[in-house]
């Protein structure tokens, strides 16, 4: 049995539906992967759900889905087989109810593909199935929904929110109420989007580095380049916890670089990057270290779409944790005059 990586084949959709790729998704059951850090930024999930419903698509979440567990794998607390077993458990549950899984977080997306990648190694695959088999023995009973198996040829396909939004961008514009009114916007893709090759070849990799900029232009903004565009947000798989002051130097340099080119805000497709680049305590600590107060705002792509669709401010952005000037940006975009 060959293990597929389950990444949605975007080129195939473009070929089959050149005029309107949205047609591919019509009648399919879509599911939003629950990223842990969306808790701090509920507008990320709300924005995508609101958009899909406006486009007439069926969307759910999976109540039995757990955290992707990438954070535990990166911290050496679980083995490859345990990580792959948690991943397969989630994929089994989601596959039971959906055709397409949309992922708002670079880390979760990487985990979902990495878990499948590990199953290509016979030893890991064997151990993973053993863990899942033992689960049935250990759990049993009426409350256990059934045996989890390593998925063979599942119907489920996985797509990153940025790739999905870019694919159907021309249809999205039709359901937007506002545009960016010529605001200057800097892009941050995030390491696990920029460096991920599990789902693409080199040609696609180079092509994908312009998706955010093209969307900014399409939405009526002006994309601006900055020297630290490709650099990490500073999260670095807990570097922000273990070596906080050092990691925040990376964060500061990135934000400052975008501020220096007069970007109004930094746009990104990942709530973990958003957390690092916007957390008030981190901003405060950077101020203490550098004596320089950063004012640049940070917004997730899904949040931006909710703003452009004219949703209520508190539904789009988390006011408690929002970065500076978010309210001003919201007012500017949604000003009717």
């Amino acid at each position: 049995m060959e293990i597929e990586n389950l990444a949605l084949d975007l080129d195939e959709i473009r070929e089959k539906y050149p005029d309107n790729p949205l047609e591919f998704f019509e009648g399919k059951k879509l599911c939003l992967f629950k990223a842990c850090l969306e808790k701090y930024f509920p507008g990320v999930r709300f924005g995508m759900k609101n958009l899909l419903e406006a486009l007439g698509l069926e969307v759910t979440i999976c109540k039995n889905q757990s955290c992707c567990s990438g954070t535990f794998f990166q911290r050496n607390l679980i083995t490859r087989a345990q990580f792959a077993a948690i991943n397969e458990r989630n994929l089994n549950e989601i596959n039971n109810q959906s055709d397409i899984l949309l992922v708002s977080c670079n880390g979760c997306y990487n985990s979902l593909l990495r878990g499948r990648d590990f199953l290509k190694i016979p030893e890991v695959k064997e151990k993973t199935q053993r863990i899942l088999d033992e689960l049935e023995e250990k759990m049993g009973g009426e409350k256990y929904p059934g045996q989890y198996k390593i998925l063979e040829n599942p119907k489920l396909r996985i797509v990153h929110d940025l790739d999905f939004i870019y694919l159907i961008r021309n249809e999205i514009v039709r359901v937007l109420k506002y545009d960016l009114k010529g605001l200057k916007v800097a892009s941050h893709y995030g390491c696990h989007y920029l460096n991920l090759e599990r789902d693409r070849d080199m040609e696609t990799y180079l092509k994908d580095k312009t998706k955010l900029e093209e969307l900014i232009t399409l939405f009526g903004g002006i994309p601006v380049d900055y020297s630290e565009k490709e650099s990490c947000c500073g999260w670095g798989a807990s570097q922000i916890v273990i070596h906080s002051e050092d990691a925040l130097k990376i964060t500061y340099k990135k934000l400052k670089s975008a501020e220096n080119v007069n970007a109004c805000f930094l746009l990104m497709p990942c709530p973990t990057c958003l957390y690092t680049l916007s957390k008030p305590e981190f901003r405060e600590k950077m101020y203490e270290i550098t004596d320089d107060k950063l004012e640049i705002a940070t917004i997730h792509l899904n949040e931006l779409i909710a703003i452009l669709r004219g949703c209520e401010e508190e539904q789009c952005v988390s006011l408690r944790r929002s970065s500076p000037r978010i309210h001003l940006i919201y007012e500017t975009i949604t000003n009717e005059e």
């Binding site: 757990s66 696990h192 670095g236 916890v241 070596h243």
Partner: protein, 182 residues
């Protein structure tokens, strides 16, 4: 980078690290080009230098496990992308090094490691790494499944590292008070 004769290479340590790790079967083919170091975020803020770390591994130098540098890797996967060789996965190699380091009781400071334990506890309580996840907690029976799958046996290494850290702290405190007395 200094020249090294062929006699200095010894692969036992490498083999123990990459056993069963298909993605790293070609570490020996590292051509020392340094592409992995350029643009590495960890090397911008620390002495982390993956080229040097690989060289130590290829020489069988197990002292690299005590090296605090290995805990600076951001796991951003940039090095993996730019490496010109197939089947060299540096982030995965770093994870293997950290595993071995953990097993021997080395690692970051205990105060930082406690966060790992807290996150694991939350995961086994509600299925998320945070309290009160959006859209509610994972049903209790499903949480039990996570517990059975992962059981976090490796957390014992965190405690081992913390014991060692606390012993070292005591030693340092004793040494410093002895010096003062003298």
């Amino acid at each position: 980078m200094q020249d090294t004769s062929d006699e200095e290479w010894t692969y036992d340590f490498l083999e123990s690290l990459v056993k069963d790790v298909e993605e790293n079967k070609n570490i020996r083919q590292c051509i020392d080009c340094g592409k992995c170091v350029g643009g590495c975020p960890a090397s911008k803020i620390s002495n982390f230098n993956i080229r040097k770390i690989i060289r130590k591994i290829l020489r069988g130098d197990r002292n690299v496990l005590k090296d605090s540098d290995i805990w600076y890797c951001f796991l951003c996967e940039r090095c993996k992308r730019v490496c010109p060789k197939e089947n060299i996965n540096i982030p995965l190699l770093i994870l293997n090094l950290r595993n071995e380091s953990f097993k021997r009781g080395y690692g970051p400071r205990y105060n930082d490691l406690t966060k790992y334990v807290e996150m694991s506890e939350k995961f086994l309580t509600n299925g998320s790494v945070l309290d009160e996840p959006l859209d509610g907690e994972l049903p209790e029976e499903r949480v039990k499944e996570l517990d059975k799958i992962c059981d976090f046996a490796r957390i014992k290494y965190v405690f081992k590292a913390s014991d060692k850290e606390q012993q070292n702290r005591k030693k340092r405190a004793n040494n410093s008070s002895n010096k003062k007395r003298k």
